[in-house]
């Protein structure tokens, strides 16, 4: 049982030499194909450097441009030399110059010896793969690709577009079913020689010469015809990122690679000296029989792709600045906005903090300054309480605050007197829970001792702003969870309303509220509203609050806290 290595090299020849020696020293014949892009002088030196190794051969050279037939031709040439010169070879392993064997070669030969008829080649029909880049999957086979993708991208794209429009399609020769998969395979002698000696090979070759990236489909398709037993996976650990280029391994991947139990890894950074030293020199006493287990590495790389394509929701930074609507969440965590509550209740903020364990701020967008919870002048993230800085970028202020306080739910008061530039950002943010008691802004005005003409003007202004805010919240594009009460409705059944508002936060308090905040004294508020009306201003956001003098009620001395009766 011998495995032969066909090695395609184009750069970092010193590493390729090192690896070739390693394979040969372990008893594996090696056939090297060097890209014609390697200058002749360099190639001659490379060939000379390996002259002393008896089991190494060089095949005819082809030009290997990415995505073209050259790579398949190179593989065929290498495989032919391998089958011709080394009759003892029972499996042929296709590797590149930047592949690195991770396990001792005898473990690989044992593994293959236990599966003598199995071809390890990833091979899936085009309909079932999702890894293709650029939207070309079945079209790889049906269109023509005379232009190099890397050098003449525009021509390439235009020509594809033209063929699509014209409806051009090539036919599969002999009705073969196209399959695709990783370029790196390990085939049995039987299968490989059947592919290479197939009388129909000229037909297939002619067809695949015009296929896009044939190195991922030629052997994958033909193995389906000739193989007795296909195990559709590659023995080479090779991960691709979202642009379709292979992930690269560095020194710091050493432990990961070791634990993966894969036989060969691609692609290794040529200067990752520690990896080459570790895997090419060590020779453990015992042979492991474990199956390759690339799960952990797979997860790391898929997380990297995820970070590159989806990013961290709610984060805005130097290399993530999503266009409008592409944020995957305008902020990173749920937060709550209360409008009118701290006007209606005297001690709303400490009460809410006690009930829910959230961080409850005052009016963060108040005109004079930023009311952080507990009167802090700086909060997490070193965000200062400067109103000028906040108003310089109101949206950035909010997203920064929510990002910097991850793990601690934030809550703040809002109102029509505050900076309204943030309104639309709140409304369209699925993380926002907004509870509004409309018209509650009038309560402090009712107690104000200022000139009534001023109060009337202020009331008119605030009402207009709040009406606009509510209109924003009721837009169909609104993603925030919104709850709006009129002041009249809220006062009617405050406990139930508070319960609803707090339940909306999804906070941990699913239990009933045990204690209510103290409501401000509403005496005289009806009269205040009537006065506004008498002055020609129509206060409508409060709902059907009984205007006029307070109705005759059983006299009450002090506003008393609401208590839930058991």
């Amino acid at each position: 049982m011998t495995v032969g290595i066909v090695m395609l090299v184009h750069t970092a020849l010193n590493r390729a030499e090192q690896v070739a020696r390693h394979w040969a020293a372990a008893g594996c014949p090696v056939v090297i194909h060097a890209d014609t892009n390697v200058p002749r002088r360099v190639f001659r030196a490379f060939r000379k450097s390996l002259e002393d190794v008896e089991r190494i051969r060089f095949s005819d050279r082809h030009r290997c441009e990415w995505g073209t037939w050259g790579i398949v031709a190179a593989t065929q040439a290498g495989a032919e030399v391998m089958l011709r010169d080394f009759p003892e070879v029972s499996h042929v392993y296709l590797a590149s110059g930047s592949c690195l064997p991770l396990r001792p070669v005898p473990e690989l030969t044992d593994y293959l010896a236990a599966r003598p008829d199995t071809d390890f080649i990833e091979s899936a029909t085009t309909a079932d793969v999702e890894w293709t880049v650029g939207g070309l999957d079945s079209e790889r086979f049906t269109l023509r690709f005379p232009f190099a993708w890397k050098k003449h991208r525009r021509l390439f794209d235009r020509y594809v577009e033209l063929q699509r429009r014209v409806g051009f399609k090539r036919r599969m020769p002999n009705g073969i079913v196209p399959h695709m998969g990783s370029q790196w395979w390990c085939l049995t002698r039987g299968t490989l020689s059947a592919i290479l000696a197939d009388p129909e090979r000229p037909t297939y070759d002619r067809f695949f010469q015009r296929v896009w990236i044939p190195d991922e489909s030629y052997f994958q398709t033909l193995a389906r015809i000739h193989s007795r037993r296909i195990e559709s996976r590659s023995l080479t650990l090779s991960k691709f990122d979202f642009q379709g280029k292979p992930h690269i391994f560095y020194d710091d991947h050493l432990q990961l690679l070791r634990r993966s139990d894969c036989f060969v890894a691609r692609k290794i950074w040529p200067h990752a000296g520690r990896l080459y030293r570790a895997f090419l020199t060590e020779d453990p006493a015992t042979r492991k029989k474990t199956e390759p287990n690339p799960g952990k590495i797979d997860r790391i790389f898929s997380r990297a792709v995820e970070l590159r394509t989806r990013g961290r929701p709610g984060l805005y930074m130097q290399s993530r600045w999503p266009n409008w609507g592409w944020e995957n969440g305008a902020t990173c965590a749920p937060y709550a906005v209360f409008q009118g509550f701290s006007e209606l209740f005297e001690d709303f903020e400490p009460w809410l903090e006690g009930q829910t364990g959230m961080r409850v701020h005052g009016h963060l967008y108040a005109p004079g300054g930023v009311a952080f919870s507990g009167g802090q002048s700086v909060v997490a993230g070193a965000i200062p309480d400067s109103a000028a800085i906040r108003d310089y970028n109101p949206r950035g202020f909010l997203t920064n605050l929510i990002w910097a306080t991850r793990g601690e739910q934030q809550c703040f008061q809002y109102g029509p007197a505050d900076n309204q530039k943030i309104a639309w950002d709140l409304a369209r943010d699925g993380n926002a829970r907004i509870a509004v008691i409309s018209g509650a802004w009038a309560l402090p005005l009712a107690r104000s001792r200022a000139d009534f003409a001023e109060i009337r003007a202020e009331a008119a202004r605030l009402q207009k702003i709040e009406a606009k805010f509510i209109e924003t919240l009721r837009q169909t594009e609104t993603k925030a969870r919104v709850h709006i009460w009129t002041l009249a409705d809220f006062v009617e059944a405050p406990m139930q309303a508070l319960q609803d508002a707090v339940a909306e936060l999804g906070a941990r308090s699913t239990r009933r509220l045990s204690e209510a905040p103290t409501m401000v004294d509403l005496t005289g508020f009806g009269q205040f509203l009537q006065n506004l009306k008498n002055q020609g201003m129509h206060p409508h956001l409060m709902g059907d609050f009984p205007a006029g003098p307070d109705p005759e009620r059983p006299p009450r001395k002090a506003p008393k806290p609401y208590l839930v009766q058991k």
Binding site: V305, Q318, S319, W321, N323, G381, A382, S386, N400
Partner: protein, 336 residues
């Protein structure tokens, strides 16, 4: 972007390059070792003035990282910077007594030197108080990053300026030559940066950090820009527009993802706030050679007289790049 605007930017780039070409005469060669630059070397460009105290650590930091050759413009130093740099085997040095401001804060000089020596090389353009940090910088040398950028067809790499400061008075602990400045100025602001986009050049404009928090709480618009693009695979047709914040052609400024993803990015640890700062601020104020009539230095000078402590309860102590990545200041992108 329309054809007309694209053409205007092209003309502007040509103008900056002509300007850089004319400014070449202001530079006097002190030590030219550029013949030692090999094909794949990573180059570092910098202007400096009276920075001798910082240079030993600076050079060592970047040598260890994998920079092969340094190209300095010395702006009329009086503290021996010139002799020190001329004595380093991997440094090429030019000197000038001309105006820093009229050389667009040094970038005219650097654009010229880069035009001449950096074509086809990865180049870092940093000040002597800026220390580049990139993902995996503790385990992978800079060539690993540039190879990956090459393989990914990326030509420019962003690294936001992160202002570092000590706890307590800035001048409480004197900095010694060769010392790691982060030992003294080891704190930073983690999350108070605000961003807007410059639609003309396509770059992001980032402000914030301790300088905005302490020096410009009432006039945040005046706070200095923190966005930087220090690592570029240079081509002789490129030109800096304003300091190292913006480049032309404008595609180089698109170092951020617009569809929700994160591109890989790094950080420039900015160790301006050492004990040397007070003297420097006083001197620069006098010379008036800095941006916008040195408004920045004026604000510093005023604030620092009263309360020279930038530290606050929520300041973050610097540990490593992973910390910066978790805080969302930089990103690994799809480099794993």
């Amino acid at each position: 972007m329309g054809f007309a605007q694209s053409y205007r930017l092209r003309l502007q780039r040509k103008r900056w390059r002509i300007r850089a070409f004319r400014k070449r005469r202001e530079l006097t060669r002190v030590a030219d070792r550029t013949d030692r630059i090999r094909k794949r070397d990573i180059l570092l460009f910098s202007t400096c003035r009276n920075e001798k105290i910082r240079l030993p650590f600076f050079l060592q930091y970047y040598r260890d990282m994998g920079v092969s050759h340094f190209l300095f413009v010395d702006n009329d130093s009086t503290d021996g910077t010139r002799d020190y740099l001329a004595g380093q085997e991997d440094v090429s040095l030019w000197t000038t007594a001309a105006s820093y401001k009229r050389a667009r804060f040094g970038v005219d000089w650097l654009t010229w030197l880069q035009m001449k020596h950096a074509h086809g090389h990865w180049t870092l353009t940093v000040d002597p108080d800026e220390f580049f940090v990139y993902p995996f910088c503790d385990t992978r040398p800079l060539p690993a990053l540039t190879d990956w950028l090459d393989a990914s067809s990326i030509k420019s790499f962003s690294a936001m300026l992160l202002d570092m400061y000590p706890k307590g008075r800035i001048d409480a602990q004197p900095y010694l030559p060769g010392q790691n400045p982060m030992e003294i100025a080891g704190w930073f602001d983690a999350g108070n940066y605000v961003i807007s986009k410059n639609s003309r050049y396509g770059n992001l404009w980032i402000q914030g950090g301790p300088r905005m928090r302490v020096f410009f709480p009432d006039t945040p618009a005046k706070a200095p820009a923190l966005n930087k693009i220090p690592l570029v695979k240079w081509h002789r047709d490129y030109a800096w527009v304003s300091s190292t914040h913006t480049l032309l052609p404008r595609g180089l400024n698109l170092v951020y993802d617009e569809w929700g993803g994160e591109k890989a990015s790094g950080i420039l640890l900015h160790t301006k706030f050492l004990h040397t700062f007070a003297d420097k601020a006083a001197e620069e104020l006098q010379r008036g050679q800095h941006y916008a009539a040195s408004v920045e230095y004026r604000a510093y000078a005023e604030t620092l007289q009263e309360n020279p402590d930038l530290w606050c309860r929520w300041s973050e102590k610097y540990i490593n790049w992973r910390q910066l990545e978790i805080l969302g200041l930089m990103s690994k992108g799809n480099w794993a």
